[in-house]
């Protein structure tokens, strides 16, 4: 096919966008590399952080996937009222701010939580979720649903005819169909969860800490905030980058795509169902719903009595979310329209660079020029935009390809090229994926507790940071109210954008 058949393609802006993304992701890395004190090497505590980071990511990934397999199987072969709601619930943790989930988990599993209250009545000593166990629990809470969705997709990809054939032949479904499917799906699922847990900061900040439960991200934060040792922070950031880059490159190649619920509503007709299915479905629902219910329960009473500072922080969070959404979606659109190799590179670069790594680099760059607290909000906005970019691209690249596939020739015969093609063909056809990508970016940015913790003081705190400080001061009721506000804002931001893309979209 001749080149001009692929109408509506702008190369110039895409290169500018790509250069911008590379400057914002690779630039901080260069700063980190220059500043890292390689001579002094990593201290024993830093090696412990690296070991813990890898260990907890491996355990979290294995635990999430092991628990997800029976749940996904139950969802694949059972039809029941509320199944769609449960599948949707499994998509929620992606939009749920980490700090909110942590507070919910504390309300259930924490010292004063309902689990310890129940254990107390039967005379068992209270358990503590601070430390490694808590970090892994929180990671499973977030990644079990993701694992279920990815594995469920694998189950639904098995053609129904094969189950019929197996049933007719009385063949063992597990061995002939399910195990081969899992062998194909599990490596990608494990790897993507491993990668997510590798860059975990907010969970480690709130539940971890100490010599035996500090991740590299947390160690970077501590090196900057507590010791103000930029050289060591940079060295840690460089180690973290190497860890993530290796995992990200592998993960990008073999990761299955999660469409957040698209097409997961089918049920496979099966002739081998186990009553244990209900047990698994009940357990996972309870595990996901109870912490969220506790937030609502504890947050509602004091909701209107929250100090003004929380509302101000919410205002900042909204501003940051709006700014970062605009940046990430416009960059993603520009790059997706160009497609090809740059889109792939831009899609994977931010994955390799975590929030704290980027944050450290930017801190090193701005520190000599201006006080980091002054630029806390703009930096957060930009870093959040970069972190959301891979997700936005994963939504937009296939959508752009679809539009080209279906309408490039028609557009070419009608002279709909350049800006005109963008206005009349591309943008209207992309409304839904654009809305979805914007919703993801907005929700991710709204709930982010990462780079802001590195830069901000009380004067620039966003809602997640305000929540973290309330928790640190043991004002748990107020923190729960703030959590309720935060989760409402995140879901609302997603809903507004996603709905905006769907209304009158004519697909």
């Amino acid at each position: 096919m001749a080149q001009r058949a692929v109408a509506i393609k702008a190369a110039g802006p895409a290169w500018v966008a790509a250069a911008l993304v590379l400057a914002l992701t690779v630039g901080p890395l260069v700063a980190v590399a220059f500043r890292a004190q390689v001579g002094s090497g990593l201290a024993a505590g830093d090696w412990a952080a690296i070991r813990f980071t890898i260990w907890q990511a491996v355990v979290s990934a294995l635990a999430s996937v092991a628990l997800a397999i029976p749940v996904a199987r139950a969802l694949a072969r059972r039809r029941f009222r509320g199944r769609a709601a449960l599948v949707m619930l499994l998509g929620a943790p992606f939009l749920l701010p980490v700090i909110v989930a942590v507070l919910g988990l504390l309300a259930v599993f924490g010292r004063g939580g309902i689990l310890n209250a129940m254990l107390g009545t039967i005379g068992i000593d209270p358990i503590s979720i601070y430390g490694a166990a808590g970090v892994i629990l929180a990671h499973v809470f977030f990644n079990l649903p993701l694992a279920v969705r990815l594995i469920l997709q694998g189950w639904l990809d098995i053609p129904a005819e094969r189950f019929r054939l197996a049933a007719q032949l009385n063949a063992p479904v597990w061995r002939v169909l399910e195990w081969p499917m899992l062998v194909r799906v599990l490596p990608g699922t494990l790897l993507v969860i491993f990668l997510i847990c590798l860059t975990s900061f907010a969970v480690a900040l709130t539940l971890g800490g100490g010599p035996r439960a500090t991740t590299v991200e947390l160690a970077i934060y501590q090196a900057i905030r507590f010791d103000f040792d930029l050289g060591r922070a940079a060295l840690l950031a460089a180690s973290q980058f190497v860890l993530c880059a290796v995992a990200a490159v592998v993960a990008w190649r073999i990761t299955p795509v999660d469409g957040l619920g698209g097409g997961l509503d089918r049920v496979v007709a099966r002739w081998d169902q186990s009553p244990l299915d209900w047990l698994w479905l009940g357990a996972v629902t309870l595990f996901l719903v109870t912490p969220l219910a506790m937030i609502v329960l504890r947050g509602v009473p004091g909701f209107l009595d929250m100090p003004a500072s929380v509302w101000t922080a919410a205002g900042r969070s909204i501003a940051v979310a709006v700014g970062s959404t605009v940046i990430s979606v416009s960059l993603a659109l520009t790059v997706a329209l160009r497609g090809g190799a740059i889109a792939q590179v831009i899609g994977v670069t931010p994955l390799a660079s975590s929030a704290l790594v980027m944050g450290t680099g930017l801190f090193i760059i701005v520190y000599p020029v201006v006080s980091p607290t002054v630029v806390a909000l703009p930096v957060t906005m930009v870093v959040n935009a970069m972190l959301a970019l891979p997700f936005a691209l994963r939504v937009l690249i296939p959508a752009v390809q679809d539009v080209r596939q279906n309408y490039a020739r028609l557009a070419a015969t009608l002279n709909l090229t350049g800006w005109r093609g963008l206005r009349i063909v591309m943008l209207p056809r992309l409304r839904r994926p654009l809305g979805f990508a914007a919703g993801l970016s907005a929700a991710l940015s709204m709930g982010d507790l990462g780079v802001i913790a590195l830069f901000a003081t009380d004067a620039q705190e966003t809602l997640p940071l305000a929540m973290y400080r309330l928790m640190g001061a043991y004002r748990m009721e107020t923190a729960a109210s703030a959590a309720l506000l935060l989760v409402a804002l995140s879901l609302l931001a997603f809903w507004i954008c996603d709905k905006g893309g769907r209304v009158d979209a004519d697909l």
Partner: protein
């Protein structure tokens, strides 16, 4: 006059040659699937650059002209309308690609919709139309685009026999009667026999020169016999 001058098209290992001229009227393009019918139309529309030779319109060499700048308009098997635009807007794209329609333009769109039997349906979106009505809307756009060459690449293949006959009648009455050169790819030799003035058989790497339909089917060549299975 549309001319393929010593034209050679190449797609991977596949080669197609054509060397003939075509006068206005309805010409059917028939031949085995994979034989290169769509490839021929792609080259005329400007989606495929010739390996050698060229396509001419009234003596003007079209090489290098973008699809939108050729005296050619084309309908595809599907996706001939943009689902997010109204029927009137879709048809109006034939007049003004920027979609900034003046009163005069809107009037002409209304007349065109009337001619294809869609009077009063201009405000609907395509998904509110039946398959036949969607084909009519696309034809309204072709009418408004006012290009001398019209390519139909199995444009009506998804329609049932009765609807397809209606569309061919419409093509006959609004496009062919107006003196346009219409090339129509079809899988059904009966379509060709019923409506086409000429037939181009595409087989064995050649787009054979157009022949009078009656004469061709009265005395089929060996290639045509093989394709028809007679």
């Amino acid at each position: 006059m549309l001319t393929c001058d010593d034209l050679t098209l190449r797609q991977g290992a596949f080669t197609l040659r054509a060397d003939w001229s075509l006068s206005p009227g309805l010409t059917a393009v028939i031949g085995p699937s994979g034989g290169g019918k769509s490839t021929l139309l792609s080259a005329i529309a400007g989606f495929l650059d010739p390996a050698s030779g060229c396509v001419l319109w009234d003596g003007r060499n079209l090489s290098g002209a973008a699809p939108g700048n050729r005296p050619v308009t084309m309908l595809f098997q599907d996706n001939n309308l943009f689902p997010h635009l109204t029927v009137a807007q879709n048809a109006g794209l034939g007049l003004v690609p920027s979609l900034r329609l003046t009163k005069d333009h809107s009037d002409r769109v209304a007349v065109a919709l009337d001619r294809v039997g869609l009077a009063g349906l201009g405000d609907r979106k395509p998904n509110a139309l039946s398959g036949g009505q969607q084909s009519r809307a696309a034809l309204a756009r072709v009418l408004l685009a006012d290009r001398p060459v019209v390519l139909l690449d199995e444009a009506f293949a998804a329609l049932g026999p009765a609807l397809r006959a209606q569309m061919l009648e419409l093509v006959q009455s609004i496009l062919v009667a107006a003196g346009r050169t219409v090339l129509m790819v079809t899988h059904d030799p009966a379509d060709a026999q019923n409506v086409a003035d000429n037939v181009i058989l595409v087989s064995d790497g050649y787009a054979h020169p157009p022949q009078d339909t009656g004469a061709l089917f009265a005395d089929p060549s060996p290639e045509l016999r093989r394709y028809l299975g007679t």
